[in-house]
Subunit: 109 residues, 2 copies
Amino acid sequence: MGLAKTEIFSKSQNDIANWAKVLGHPARVAILQHLFKINSCICGDLVLEIGLAQATISQHLKELKTLGLIQGTVEGTSVCYCINPENWLKMKHILTDFLNQDAFENPCC
Amino acid sequence: MGLAKTEIFSKSQNDIANWAKVLGHPARVAILQHLFKINSCICGDLVLEIGLAQATISQHLKELKTLGLIQGTVEGTSVCYCINPENWLKMKHILTDFLNQDAFENPCC
DNA sequence: TGATTTAATCGTAATATTGCAATAAATTAA
DNA sequence: TTAATTTATTGCAATATTACGATTAAATCA
């Protein structure tokens, strides 16, 4: 069906999955890394930085915006993007908690 | 096209995306959480625990196995699954490093 | 042996994702 | 105003993902 049965899972489980999902494409990983590297808004040139068509980059930016990981402000003819610190931290805590659930006794098999 | 252009990204970026991707479905999140909760192998009853059909669970288990996050050993007519600690740690470090790249000066916009 | 149990695989359907050309929209520059 | 620049949106094609019924495979039980 291609459609996840989100209703049978908890909000927490869906949150973890949704944050992970948006990081699940190398283009979005690269965009976020570049924004951190610049450490300020970047106006334009993301298309040159990543090697994909303008329409494709725009689509990935939209997904990052929808989840709130980045924000864009119009600056003349271009748009300036930067990381949204609050939502990055929110994601970071949710995913870190998930990743830190390990203890590894595993006394079997 | 539905096919990510992985070749234009670094191995590191693809690794991050691939680990994130496997966590990008609530069923797989739930499976991993259950394995941690049990903290030992679980033989059977994952289908009952998660509310999806047996074929669907088996498919998700296969993805987790392919990435090496879980391992299964045959035990009679059933299969016992548990977390693979080495690969969990590997994933944890890769994703944690990515999540910790923040510093948040952001002196613009 | 034959029946039962359990998990993997196959086949199929429906939806999602990725990518890009073409176009539209919005702003600036001449 | 017109042209140029930049980003968003639309439309489409191809592949991926999700889900599940049916079947198969493998081991155990009677």
